[in-house]
């Protein structure tokens, strides 16, 4: 599903170089549920942006479903994101002027799906996350947990093979956090590849595999999730 070889992302701030990713090698198989964990500033979000094709690396190679992405045009990357990746962000990133339904329809619009089918798929996705009754609400009329569920529905609506979640529970209280986490597990059970980014090892432990990252390099990679220490 994902193969990253020798990836570097270097930010130059005047004379200072920040090596956000300092030689990452990572292979994620289809239908895996992987957590990426590390302290703040370790490069987790940077890595997620790379995996999500939102940003380009300074050097290194990256294949998604066997497709090399280094030399793809911006529009091709957009199409790739639309087709293969569903994003779940810490800050939900819903469009405030659109209703829940319209937000969920958005990836389908860019996919070019006709309105009847679009509505059907969007409603199914909202139903899936338990937000069917509130599909006509605007994001500000919803609680944080509800907004995140709408965001999950949006990520699922296009039936992508990869779900990328960056601190999806970061802004939620523990109870709703657990609900969202359960949803991620369900999504995985349905046959999706899930990459979950977090700084919390208790959350990371929900995955099948935990990749630890520090200062832009992978320091451990284990499927023995019970061994992942807190902190």
């Amino acid at each position: 599903m994902i193969r990253i070889k020798n990836m570097y992302k270097i930010y130059k701030m005047g004379d200072v170089e920040v090596r956000a990713l300092n030689g990452i090698n990572l292979h994620i198989k289809p239908k895996e549920f992987v957590s990426i964990i590390g302290p703040s500033g370790s490069g987790k979000s940077t890595l997620m942006n790379m995996i999500g094709c939102l940003d380009t690396a300074t050097s290194g190679e990256y294949w998604i479903d066997g497709i090399p992405v280094e030399n793809m045009s911006e529009d091709d990357l957009a199409a790739l994101r639309n087709e293969k990746i569903g994003f779940i962000f810490q800050g939900y990133n819903l469009l405030p002027k659109l209703s829940a339904l319209e937000n969920v329809e958005l990836p389908l619009i860019y996919r070019g799906i006709d309105s009847a089918r679009r509505r059907e798929l969007a409603e199914a996705a909202l139903y899936r996350v338990g937000m069917y009754e509130r599909m006509n609400h605007k994001p500000k009329e919803l609680s944080g947990g509800q907004q995140q569920r709408v965001a999950i529905a949006r990520a699922l609506s296009n039936k992508p093979s990869l779900i990328l979640a960056d601190e999806p529970t970061g802004a939620l209280d523990s109870k709703t956090g657990i609900e969202v986490l359960q949803m991620m597990k369900d999504i995985h059970k349905e046959g999706n590849t899930v990459v979950l980014i977090t700084h919390d090892s208790n959350i990371a432990r929900n995955a099948e595999r935990v990749v630890r990252i520090a200062d832009g390099v992978i320091t451990s990679d284990t499927t023995d999730v019970k061994d992942v220490v807190t902190g």
Partner: protein, 397 residues
Amino acid sequence: MNIGMAFKMAINSVMSAKIRSFLTMLGIIIGVASVIVLVNLVTASTLSMRSQLESMGTNLIQVSINRGGWGQTRSVSLDDIEELTGENSDLFEAVTPLVSGMGVIKYGTNNVSSSLTGVSEDYLSIRSREVVDGRFITETDCDNRSNVVVIGEYIRQELFGSESPVGQTVKINNEKFTVIGLLDQKSSNASSGSDDDIIIIPYTRATRLLRNANINSFMVSAVSSDYMSEATEAIENFLYKKFKNDDYYNVLNTAELIDTIDDALGTMSLLMAGIAGISLLVGGIGIMNIMLVTVSERTREIGIRKSIGAKRKSIITQFLIESAVISCMGGIIGIVVGIGGSYFVCKALSMDAVPLANQVTVISGSFAFSALIGIFFGLYPANKAAKLNPIDALRND
């Protein structure tokens, strides 16, 4: 993404900030409205001048001879006119000398001072007027220098009130005349100075009455308006042969006059449209300004859209349609304001409003122009939005 969706989104976004959208449109509204009002104003005055000229007849040629300096009596004789007419009987329909001056006309205790014109029997057909009561001057009246007079509606009202004028005896410059006819009313209220303020007598009689034995002016009607230039040329050639100087006479034809007025007013309406076009341009810059603000305010939205698969084209389309919607709405409001405005301005200047059918060009033109302006000035902001890097846009708060 399809265009219908983009329109819906654009209208939503315009409607969600009504005051701002309205202020953004204001430049376009003012621009379009002023184009329409100005062009309509010019058109209305052209139409009213034209209709005045056309009511005189489009086949009229008026010739006036400059009397010359003090004591000079440059003029044409009746023989000259007859010679000219004889030579050009294929071009001319009718000719009448015009001997004009001021006359005071009295009936009982009423008197009016008005312009007095001596004409031949052909005057009526040349000016396409009619006698509504009695008869017009005849050839016999001219030959006999009869003391007969035909009056206009204004003179009738002033002198006779409710009495019937035909058959009455009046005094013109203290000489007795019999009223033989009443001309049809030409102006709406038959006021002083209008075409109805007119006293007509045989030209042979006028030369005596006005103590002016010379004919300084005459009027010719061509067989049709198609022969105007030939007829005018014939007259000019004849007069040049006689006077050897083209400053000594003046030949005016209504067709040329209408053309001249059309030309002048056409230029004027272009100029007006140009000036108003500048305000449209300023309106366009206003749109660009706001669209740039909108793009930077919506950086995050653009980032989200891109992250879930919006291509450059979709983002460009979205913002272009938004600016086109703003400018087109402005254009439509401007058109409504402009049509209403021109109606009231024409009313205020007591001109006939321009029929809507004649406004099609200016309306569709200014609408198309405002749409183009929206697209043109939206291009830069839309492109700026589309070029945003998704990750930079997402990071923006």
